[in-house]
Assembly symmetry: C2
């Protein structure tokens, strides 16, 4: 008792390593994301950090570049360092990792996608969101609608956004023109390249739905360089609602949602899981909405 007092008065700092070893608890949350740079993930991190800090947890960030080998590597590292739980933003989610997770049964939450099985998750409804965006395009009178989709079908959100696109077209009785759906990387430059491919065709679409805002910005950029105008010549629809989307001209119409909220929800529930509480629902799907701005034209 008075020993404790004395400790406080001296500037005594407990050794967290020793404490964690004794308590068999690390107060560490592992966070795996593909990259800090390219997407909406900075908001995600912000959200995660915010609530983990609130609950006295530390976070350890690992950048996987989306590669399975890195994911496996860091998963092992997190276990070595006795992380209490893991938040996993994995676009490509290979069975190897899933197996690892199931076997070790370390608390783990999937973020940005859903496997609708044993691994809990928090994400948005990409299919519906994309469906709504493309339906909006159709309502504005567009029928020649292309898509700049993500390259790999393994990328869950990318594929789901394509599914939503396809569903909207199909429902409207429009057949998909294969020349207008282009696979594309995640950078702005990739968007430019993909847009060029679309423009190479004789018949070009009046509207393009893009899998991400960065791609959309790249596409707009290419159109500008080519002397085509958005939205007069081509309408563009983005996805993610990054802050640049409202800065560029014309302002980009896009699907918005809060990555920060996703991060906060994930961290909150991961900590629940760690404490042995139950997480309900096991799969959170957070809201999205259409932010319709200037990059889409009404076709009479």
């Amino acid at each position: 008792m008075r020993v404790l007092k004395a400790m406080e008065q001296t500037n005594f700092l407990p050794n967290a390593m020793a404490r964690n070893l004794a308590k068999n608890k690390s107060y560490l949350l592992g966070v795996m994301i593909p990259d800090v740079k390219n997407t909406v993930l900075d908001d995600l991190i912000n959200g995660i950090n915010h609530v983990s800090e609130l609950y006295g947890y530390n976070t350890m960030l690992s950048l996987t570049s989306g590669m399975l080998e890195n994911e496996l590597h860091y998963f092992k590292k997190f276990r070595e360092i006795q992380a209490d739980g893991i938040i996993l933003a994995s676009e490509y989610l290979k069975e190897d990792l899933v197996e690892n997770i199931k076997q070790t049964n370390i608390p783990c939450i999937l973020v940005g996608r859903d496997r609708s099985d044993t691994i809990p998750s928090v994400h948005i409804d990409n299919i519906t969101a994309a469906y709504e965006a493309v339906t909006y395009l159709i309502q504005q009178g567009h029928r020649k609608i292309g898509m700049l989709r993500l390259r790999n079908e393994d990328i869950a959100s990318g594929y789901q956004r394509y599914q939503g696109y396809a569903k909207a077209l199909t429902e409207a009785g429009i057949t998909i023109n294969r020349d207008w759906v282009i696979e594309c990387g995640v950078s702005v430059e990739d968007g430019m390249i993909a847009m060029r491919r679309i423009c190479a065709a004789t018949d070009i679409p009046t509207a393009i739905f893009c899998a991400t805002d960065r791609i959309a910005i790249g596409a707009m950029n290419y159109l500008f360089e080519r002397g085509l105008s958005v939205p007069s010549d081509v309408s563009i629809y983005g996805f993610d609602g990054i802050d640049m989307s409202s800065i560029i001209r014309p302002k980009l119409s896009t699907v918005k949602y809060s990555a920060r909220e996703i991060g906060m929800t994930a961290a909150r529930n991961l900590i629940k899981l760690i404490k042995g509480e139950t997480m309900t629902p096991r799969h959170w799907v957070l809201p999205h909405y259409l932010e319709n701005r200037e990059s889409v034209r009404l076709l009479k």
Copy 2:
């Protein structure tokens, strides 16, 4: 010996906490940055992570919002968790923290700024860079040159960039017009607001040097909304060379440097320090260069 073999064959994972306690070494690098979102810091993180991974270190990222109390808080946390070293990107660097660092003599590297005393650092020469940019503006025929500078003089890089601006003007025999140097936050919106203040004057400058690209983008955005054209009506010069600077139209002229390189250099040298090797030089100043693009007009 054969016990070790057996351990390897079973999928045995050593407990890093126990190892670290025994070895009195954590293989953890603490990283403090103001924010992931707002600047060039994502590249920094990338660089740091890259080399720390190379050397078998883990990094722990803390977001300080640039606030002293948070910096102090995380500094303490890093010590508790026995971090082997700390990389500190602190814009406002208060004496409190400096004292802490000196007293604990935990290996620590300052990033993005310089205190030219006991704490080693890696950064760029902000004064010279700003001087060169503004001199370029002058060479292009501008004499009415404003600046959107950062709000707080405590922000080292911000203040240094202002110093460079002032030096260039003074050398050219131009007196600084107080109405044209506006203090400004770090977001794109802040840039818009600051630009509006400049435009409120009767006489507006022909060129604006901005402390960061984000501010510059905000300024351009405001000018666009106001129906003024860049660079015909106002020339804009940015700082940082973020990727968006080459995407927006007109392409932004800006001071470029590699934040990733800064991060890598910092991590490399921190690890040296940890190993007890000497760091030479104690203060690295990394290169910058002018990326002159479209946002500056030649005044006849």
